[in-house]
C-alpha cells in the first residue's frame, strides 16, 4: 500500500501548508513517498522529510521542472508510478494541471478535489459547486487523487524521512515558461489563513476595497473576494473565493457586501465562524452566517476596524489596555502589524522577515500571546543578538533557532525553544509568519 504524493514546490520552496494537509489525507492510504520536483528543491525535500507520516522523499532536480510545466512533470510521475497504488497531490492549480494528465497516461480516472477518504478505493467529493456530495469508488488499480486542502488538517512536523535524489525523466519539449505575475503580499496566504476578510460587488470599486484590506490587516487576515468583485475588476483573480476560485475554511470568515451566490458559498461554507455584513437583509449569505449584521458596509467595516483590539493588552508589552497606551499616544497608525514592525525594518535581504521586534522573551509571553490575531500563526523565530555574547561570535549576529510551529497562545513553548537554543534573555526576536 504505497502512496506517491506530489509536493507543492514553487521556485524551489515547499508550500508547507498545502503539502502537509495532503500528507494527512495520504497517510490514511498507506506509506507516503513525497516527490519534490524543481530546478532546485533539495531544501524543499528536506522540509517535506520532517512531516510526520512521510516515509521517504524523492528529490528530482532538473531545469525542466523549474516551473512545473505539466508535460515533463507528468512524464516523471508516470515513470515512477509502477510501485504505487495511489498517486496523490494537494488540489492546487498546479496539481489540477498535472494530475489528470498523469491519470490519462496511466489509463485511469482522476478523482479531483476529494474532501474525505472513506477507504483505499472510496472517496467523497463535492459536485455541482458544492450542492451535492458524491461518494465514489474507484475500480482502477492505480488511483490518482487530488485532495481539497481546506478539509484536512496539516500533518505535524518532527519526522525525519530519508531523502533520495532521483534523475529526471525525458523532456517532451512541448512547452516553455514565459513569465509569472505573482502578486506580492505581506498578508497570509488565502487558503491557509486563520482569518479571511472578503469583499463582494457591494464594495463598489477597487479604491473602496481598501476598507476591506484595512480590516484584514487589523486581524492579520488574508483578503478574499467574490467572483462578482473579481469580474468587476475590484480585486485580482487570485483573491477569488468560490467553487471556481479558492476554497477556504478559516476560523473566521468575514463577508462584506457579498450576497452569497451558491458558487461563493461553496468556497467558504466550511469556515468555523462566518460573519456577514450586508445592507440587503434578504441576501442568501445570512442563511449561512453565524453572525449577520444588516448594515451598510461603508459604515460598519471601518467601525469594526477601529474598535477591534481596543481593549486588548497593548502590543508594546506595557500590560495596559491598547486604547489607553500606544493607541492614545499616537504611535499606532491603523495596523497592528505595521506598528509592530515599522520602527525597526529588517535590512538583511536574505531573510524573509517583516522587521525586527524589539521585545524580550518576557514581553513575548506576557503580551504577544494575548493578541488574538497572532494565535495559530506559524512563525519562524530568528534571534538577533544585541549584546556581544559567545553566540554572536560563533554564528554572527543572526541565529536561526529553528522552525517553530507552535501557536502563539503557547508562548511558553516558544520560551522553551529559546532556552534550549541557549538564548540569553537580552536577545531581541525577529520573526516572520
Amino acid at each position: 500500500m504505497a502512496v506517491l504524493l506530489l509536493a507543492e514546490v514553487n521556485d524551489g520552496a515547499l508550500a508547507m501548508d498545502a503539502t502537509a494537509k495532503a500528507v494527512t489525507a495520504a497517510t490514511a492510504l498507506g506509506d507516503v513517498t513525497v516527490l519534490c520536483a524543481g530546478a532546485t528543491c533539495s531544501e524543499a525535500a528536506a522540509q517535506a522529510a520532517t512531516l510526520f507520516g512521510v516515509a521517504k522523499v524523492l528529490c528530482a532536480e532538473d531545469a525542466i521542472y523549474s516551473k512545473r510545466m505539466a508535460e515533463p512533470v507528468a512524464d516523471l510521475m508516470v515513470s515512477l508510478a509502477g510501485e504505487f497504488e495511489h498517486i496523490v497531490a494537494p488540489a492546487t492549480t498546479d496539481a489540477k494541471n498535472i494530475m489528470p494528465r498523469v491519470a490519462a497516461l496511466l489509463d485511469v480516472m482522476v478523482i479531483s478535489d476529494a474532501t474525505a477518504v472513506v477507504d483505499g478505493a472510496t472517496f467523497e467529493r463535492s459536485i455541482y459547486a458544492g450542492n451535492a456530495i458524491q461518494t465514489v469508488q474507484s475500480s482502477d488499480t492505480t488511483r490518482v487523487v487530488t485532495f481539497r486542502t481546506s478539509t484536512f488538517d496539516a500533518a505535524p512536523t518532527g519526522g525525519s524521512a530519508v531523502v533520495e535524489a532521483i534523475g529526471a525523466a525525458g523532456d517532451p519539449g512541448l512547452s516553455s515558461w514565459v513569465e509569472d505575475k505573482v502578486a506580492a503580499s505581506d498578508r497570509p496566504e488565502l487558503t491557509s489563513a486563520g482569518v479571511v476578510v472578503s469583499g463582494g460587488r457591494g464594495v463598489g470599486s477597487e479604491e473602496d476595497f481598501k476598507i476591506i484590506e484595512a480590516l484584514a490587516d487589523k486581524l492579520n487576515a488574508a483578503v478574499g473576494a467574490s467572483r462578482a468583485a473579481v469580474d468587476s475588476g475590484y480585486a485580482p483573480n487570485d483573491w477569488q473565493v468560490g467553487q471556481t476560485g479558492k476554497v477556504v475554511a478559516p476560523d473566521l470568515y468575514i463577508a462584506c457586501g457579498i450576497s452569497g451566490a451558491i458558487q461563493h458559498l461553496a468556497g467558504m461554507k466550511d469556515s468555523k465562524i462566518i460573519v456577514a455584513i450586508n445592507k440587503d437583509e434578504e441576501a442568501p449569505i445570512f442563511q449561512v452566517a453565524d453572525f449577520g449584521l444588516v448594515a451598510d458596509l461603508f459604515d460598519a467595516v471601518p467601525e469594526l476596524t477601529e474598535k477591534l483590539g481596543r481593549n486588548d493588552p497593548c502590543p508594546c508589552g506595557s500590560l495596559r489596555k491598547f486604547k489607553a497606551c500606544c493607541m492614545s499616544s499616537g504611535k499606532y497608525d491603523g495596523s497592528l502589524r505595521d506598528y509592530f514592525f515599522a520602527s525597526n525594518p529588517c535590512t538583511d535581504s536574505s531573510l524573509s522577515v517583516y522587521g525586527v521586534l524589539k521585545i524580550n522573551k518576557y514581553c513575548l509571553e506576557r503580551s504577544l500571546c494575548v493578541i488574538p490575531s497572532f494565535w495559530n500563526t506559524t512563525v519562524e523565530i530568528l534571534l538577533v543578538n544585541t549584546g556581544s555574547s559567545a553566540l554572536a561570535e560563533k554564528n554572527g549576529p543572526f541565529v536561526k533557532c529553528g522552525f517553530c510551529s507552535v501557536p502563539f497562545s503557547k508562548a511558553a513553548e516558544i520560551a522553551g525553544t529559546l532556552a534550549r537554543a541557549g538564548v540569553p534573555d537580552s536577545c531581541d526576536l525577529l520573526f516572520s509568519y
Partner: protein
C-alpha cells in the same frame, strides 16, 4: 487552422440542484439544461480566432446523450461552422467520465486534425477539471489550462494562465489543448437569424461504439447526498454587539 471545441450539456447554472431522495444522484428530469458556461467561453474564443483570421474553421463536438444536439445548435448559432455529436449514453442521468470523453475526443482529433482544441476548464456538474488535460495526454500534445488570455502565432500559442499565486504565461507548441477560465472573454448571445441559420448547419452523428471506445465508468457512484447544512445563525443589531459575540466565541 481548424479549431475543435468540445462542449458539454449540463444543468443550467441558474437552476437549483436537487439531490434525489434515494441518494441516487441529482434530479435531471425536466430540468433546464444549457451549455457548460466555461465551454461557452471556449466557443466564443474560437469564433474570435476565426474572426481575426487565425482560424478557418470552428468545429463543435459534444459527447453524451442525443439531446446534446441542442447544445451543439447553440454553438452553431454562436458561430461554429459545423458540429459532431458522439452519442455515448441514452439516459440523461448518465455522466460520461472525463477519461472516456477524452478518449472519444482523441478519436475525433485523429479524424479532424485540428491545430487547436479549446475547451472549458471544468464542467459545472461533476466539477472534475480533467477532460482537457486528459485529451492532451492521450494525443501527446502540450496543454495550457485555466487560460485568461490566448495569443496564437504561427506554430505556437502564448497563454496566460490563472494560477494560485496570480498569473503565469507559458508558450506551447501547436497543436495544443487550451482549457479556458472565466475571464478570457464574455460570450456573445446568438441572434435570432443566426439561430435559424444554425438549424441548417451540418451536424454529424457518431457513436462511442463506432469509435471502439469503452465508456464504462471507472468510478462507481455509491451515493449522492445533500451537503451538511449550517445551523442558523443570529442577526446582530450593531458593530458593538457583533464584536461582543465574536469575543465570546473566541474569534477575535
Amino acid at each position: 487552422m481548424k479549431v475543435l471545441v468540445p462542449v458539454k450539456r449540463v444543468i443550467d447554472y441558474n437552476v437549483k440542484v436537487r439531490v434525489k431522495a434515494d441518494g441516487g444522484g441529482v434530479d435531471l428530469a425536466n430540468v433546464k439544461m444549457s451549455m457548460n458556461p466555461f465551454d461557452e467561453i471556449a466557443v466564443e474564443e474560437a469564433i474570435r480566432l476565426k474572426e481575426a483570421g487565425k482560424a478557418d474553421e470552428v468545429v463543435a463536438v459534444s459527447v453524451g446523450v442525443k439531446q446534446a444536439q441542442e447544445t451543439l445548435r447553440t454553438a452553431l448559432a454562436m458561430g461554429a461552422d459545423r458540429a459532431i455529436l458522439v452519442v455515448a449514453a441514452d439516459d440523461v442521468h448518465k455522466d460520461i467520465e472525463p477519461l472516456a470523453v477524452a478518449k472519444l475526443l482523441a478519436k475525433v482529433v485523429q479524424e479532424e486534425q485540428p491545430g487547436l482544441v479549446l475547451c472549458g476548464k471544468q464542467a459545472i456538474d461533476n466539477d472534475m477539471n480533467a477532460t482537457g488535460q486528459m485529451l492532451a495526454a492521450l494525443v501527446g500534445w502540450s496543454q495550457a489550462t485555466f487560460a485568461s488570455e490566448v495569443d496564437v502565432k504561427d506554430d505556437k500559442a502564448k497563454v496566460t494562465r490563472e494560477v494560485d499565486g496570480g498569473l503565469q504565461t507559458i508558450e506551447v507548441n501547436l497543436p495544443t489543448v487550451v482549457t479556458v477560465d472565466l475571464r478570457l472573454n464574455e460570450p456573445r448571445y446568438a441572434s435570432l437569424p443566426n439561430i435559424m441559420k444554425a438549424k441548417k448547419k451540418p451536424l454529424d452523428e457518431k457513436t462511442a461504439a463506432g469509435y471502439g471506445v469503452d465508456v464504462a465508468p471507472r468510478l462507481n457512484v455509491i451515493s449522492t447526498a445533500e451537503p451538511a447544512q449550517r445551523a442558523a445563525g443570529i442577526i446582530v443589531s450593531s458593530v458593538d454587539e457583533l464584536l461582543g459575540k465574536l469575543k465570546d466565541a473566541g474569534a477575535v
